[in-house]
């Protein structure tokens, strides 16, 4: 029950707050006293707990010319409560001197009228001192005891033709330490095409005996249409030390301990620009290009077959808004006539911004295809532009080019390229630009693109060679003491040889040979020199009595059967073979 009551009360409260949502309006100017050649900024702020902020009604101001310089809105939602504030900015330019009053500015919201207080303005005559360019007084500028930080914007000309470059310069002056990177919001340039003019310049300058660090940004502006336009205010937000210079604690020692920083917003003055219309009448082939240009024409191929395609390169270079240069297919067709089929041009541009002037070139690659054989001429290509320096329309003309067109050897010499529909002949043409689509696909595994395997296998041949080399060195090392080496491998060779002996051979003689070789390797003498005395002498101390007897007995038996072959026929081959291996193994083991 309690919950229900709470819910009802909350709903009533919310409805009440929604129905009785309130707004407020305030107006301010950046200065109350101005000279006749100056402008003032009128800012009307309408705020309230609604998102639908109404537009203020600006009263008739016959003593001023008034321009809107845009609006900015901020919305905040705190605990579900919407607070919206819209700032409407106007630039007022006085028509004559005197004391004037901006009447109350009103806003009508849900039938209720809200209005501001009237604002008094004094317009003085232009003094010679004021006519000199001074550092403009900033709106909302942090002043401190001295002008330590401020911004300014200015243009190289206040009157320009449509599409003529106006260079806007923004400067940020500071002679105090900043506690954060300044955040720059460029001015509103509605009505202009903008192009940045890098690089940003940083330098020191001295104004009124004070040394300032200056950051300068330039922007090229190209007016889109004729009329009066206003370049809005540029804003810089930054955090500065909030110590007063006369303060006892302004000593750098204290600063480092107590400085917390203070965010300030710097704004520049809006600038009014008078954009002049281009003179009438405009000549033929003029398509709105303003600046100073030259035109160059070249062909990719000057000798080709009928219906074959080549690129006609029209390069327009000069000073002006390069990006906006246009050269339509229809215009090119009108230059080339009926002897050529013309397709949509491919455009590319190269822009340079040397000395803060936009210059460069724009190239139109036009695929063309000669329709008749013979010696054809690409006539002069005319590029008409308005030169703002001479205030006249001028024409850049290219040199004509001749090309030899041979009769077609094929019925349709069209490469496998882009397909165009030729409306006049209703046939499909393919051109030499990029290559045609792939009509068959082959797939491969993504893993196959990995090259790690091929990197790793490079080491295999090296490892093999190193292994072989190591083994060879090891063998060479062992062969240095041949006697020892023979003794080491004696049993291995003997065992191998014994296994090779066959029953049908004169096996006793073979066994004798093998045993003699083994013993000679062990004793370190030649095979012929092996006899019972040498064996006894060598093995007596080295073997156990049992093994010693066995080896002596084996040697004597082998000698006996060697010289009594008839008796040897009765002995068991396998038993003897095993017996020799066993005895030699024992000897090997004990030695």
């Amino acid at each position: 029950m309690k919950n229900k009551i709470c819910f009802c009360l909350l709903t009533i409260f919310l409805l009440y707050s929604k129905i009785f949502a309130d707004i407020s309006i305030s107006a301010s100017v950046d200065k109350n006293v101005i000279s006749l050649d100056e402008q003032l900024t009128l800012q009307v702020v309408v705020s309230g707990d609604t998102t639908n902020i109404p537009q203020p009604n600006i009263p008739n101001l016959p003593d001023f010319q008034i321009y809107s310089s845009g609006r900015s809105q901020s919305i905040s939602i705190i605990n579900g409560q919407i607070n919206s504030s819209v700032s409407f900015n106007y630039v007022l330019s006085p028509k004559h001197t005197g004391e004037f009053e901006i009447p109350p500015i009103s806003v009508n919201y849900k039938g209720k009228i809200y209005q501001t207080e009237p604002i008094k303005i004094k317009v003085e005559k232009t003094t010679s001192q004021r006519q000199q360019r001074q550092i403009p007084i900033q709106h909302n500028v942090y002043q401190g005891k001295q002008r330590n930080i401020f911004v300014e914007t200015f243009v190289d000309k206040k009157s320009a033709y449509v599409n003529e470059q106006i260079t806007l310069t923004f400067r940020f002056y500071t002679r105090i330490n900043l506690l954060s990177q300044p955040q720059y919001t460029p001015p509103d340039t509605t009505g202009f095409i903008t192009e940045d003019l890098p690089p940003q310049k940083n330098y020191y300058t001295i104004i009124d005996g004070q040394r300032y660090y200056v950051s300068e940004i330039k922007t090229a502006l190209f007016p889109a249409t004729a009329g009066k336009f206003v370049i809005g205010t540029a804003i810089v937000k930054c955090v500065i030390e909030d110590f007063d210079t006369d303060d006892f604690f302004s000593d750098s020692f204290f600063k480092s301990f107590f400085s917390s920083g203070k965010e300030i917003i710097l704004k520049s003055q809006p600038i009014e620009i008078d954009v002049l219309p281009l003179p009438q009448p405009q000549p033929q082939f003029f398509s709105g290009n303003v600046g100073k240009y030259e035109v160059e024409v070249s062909l990719d191929k000057q000798k080709l077959e009928q219906n074959e395609t080549t690129f006609l390169n029209i390069k327009i270079s000069g000073v002006g808004n390069i990006k906006s240069i246009t050269m339509s297919k229809a215009l090119i067709e009108s230059f080339l006539g009926k002897n050529f089929l013309v397709y949509d041009p491919i455009t590319s541009f190269d822009i340079k911004k040397e000395s803060y002037l936009l210059k460069g070139n724009k190239t139109f690659k036009v695929p063309i295809s000669p329709q008749v054989a013979g010696s054809l001429t690409i006539p002069d290509i005319k590029f008409v532009y308005f030169n703002p320096y001479t205030k006249k329309y001028e024409t850049a003309i290219s040199k004509s080019i001749t090309l030899d067109v041979l009769p077609s050897t094929k019925q349709t010499q069209f490469a496998q390229q882009k397909i165009f529909q030729d409306n006049s002949q209703s046939k499909k043409l393919e051109l030499e630009d990029i290559r045609y689509l792939k009509t068959e696909i082959k797939t491969r595994s993504i893993k196959s693109l990995n090259t790690d395997f091929y990197l790793i296998i490079q080491i295999i041949p090296i490892l093999c060679w190193l292994s072989v080399r190591t083994y060879k060195l090891y063998r060479e090392h062992r062969l240095k003491d041949i006697k020892k080496y023979r003794a080491t491998i004696a049993f291995k060779i003997a065992k191998k040889e014994i296994k090779k002996v066959k029953r049908d051979e004169d096996f006793i003689e073979r066994f004798y040979d093998i045993v003699a070789s083994y013993l000679s390797d062990k004793i370190g003498i030649s095979k012929e020199a092996v006899n019972i005395e040498e064996i006894k002498k060598f093995f007596k101390e080295k073997l156990t009595e049992q093994t010693y007897k066995e080896i002596i007995s084996l040697w004597e038996e082998l000698n006996f059967y060697r010289f009594a072959p008839t008796k040897a026929k009765d002995i068991n081959f396998s038993e003897w073979r095993q017996k020799i291996i066993n005895v030699l193994q024992k000897v090997e083991y004990e030695i």
Partner: protein, 256 residues
């Protein structure tokens, strides 16, 4: 029972066969539809078909240079040269020697004024891919070290072996140098500027940082990255700066 099992086996095999056939048909359908749309001048729709086909292949861990090339062609027709070059370069990663891919890349470089991107050494080493260089290096590796091993064991005509050794060591050194060069080149992460953008002097969204305007389709080396920015070196203009990540297409096989 065994008969039933056998039947089941066949059913599964037939099912697999049918699924794979239908997938192949779907792939070839997308390709044909894309080609038809392209031929009728509907490049954006054609691109959609080729991209679907590419995604289908990627799901199967496969890649096709032809599909990537076709996507590049569609972008070219839409006058999005940055994207077009990006897909051609991806296609080149898959099929290094394809004449059409190389021609189209050269063509875009020509019309966007990016012909001087590669150094002289890069240009002359472009006749062979890194993988092929490694394969040839391996072959001459085997020949050289094989001849050294052979020398130890086989008493063959020493004169013949000497010549094999000399020739193989010569080519081994050539391909070793080429491999090291290509390895360093391949290890640089490269990218293509997809759309015209600003080159910034710091990785922050501020007009104060603007340095120059960069045209689309330029090849860049990605040096490092921070937040939403790549530090890049622009090969054509020989300048360095920061570009927003979404304006650059990374050229690595993994990005396929």
């Amino acid at each position: 029972m065994s008969y039933k099992k056998l039947n089941m086996k066949y059913k599964i095999i037939i099912l697999f066969f049918l699924i794979s056939i239908s997938k192949i048909c779907l792939s070839s359908n997308l390709l044909n539809e894309g080609i038809e749309l392209y031929n009728s001048g509907k490049f954006s729709e054609a691109r959609g078909k080729f991209l679907s086909l590419n995604n289908e292949l990627l799901n199967k861990k496969l890649v096709s240079s032809e599909v990537l090339y076709n996507i590049g062609n569609c972008y070219f027709r839409e006058n999005k040269l940055g994207f077009a070059r990006y897909y051609y370069e991806l296609a080149k990663l898959v099929n290094f020697h394809d004449k059409d891919i190389n021609y189209n890349i050269k063509f875009i470089k020509k019309i966007t004024g990016n012909e001087a991107e590669e150094s002289f050494i890069e240009q002359i080493s472009n006749f062979i891919s890194f993988k092929e260089t490694l394969i040839l290096l391996f072959i001459f590796n085997i020949l050289f070290f094989g001849s050294l091993i052979f020398e130890n064991f086989v008493k063959m005509n020493i004169l013949k072996l000497k010549w094999i050794k000399r020739i193989s060591i010569l080519f081994l050194l050539i391909f070793l140098v080429l491999s090291i060069f290509k390895y360093n080149y391949e290890n640089q992460i490269k990218g293509i500027v997809l759309e015209q953008t600003d080159l910034l002097s710091a990785p922050e969204e501020s007009s104060l940082n603007k340095s120059v305007s960069i045209n689309e389709a330029k090849k860049v080396i990605i040096l490092s990255e921070k937040d939403n920015f790549y530090a890049v070196y622009i090969l054509q203009d020989k300048i360095q700066g920061w570009i927003r990540k979404h304006k650059v297409g990374k050229l690595v096989a993994r990005s396929l």
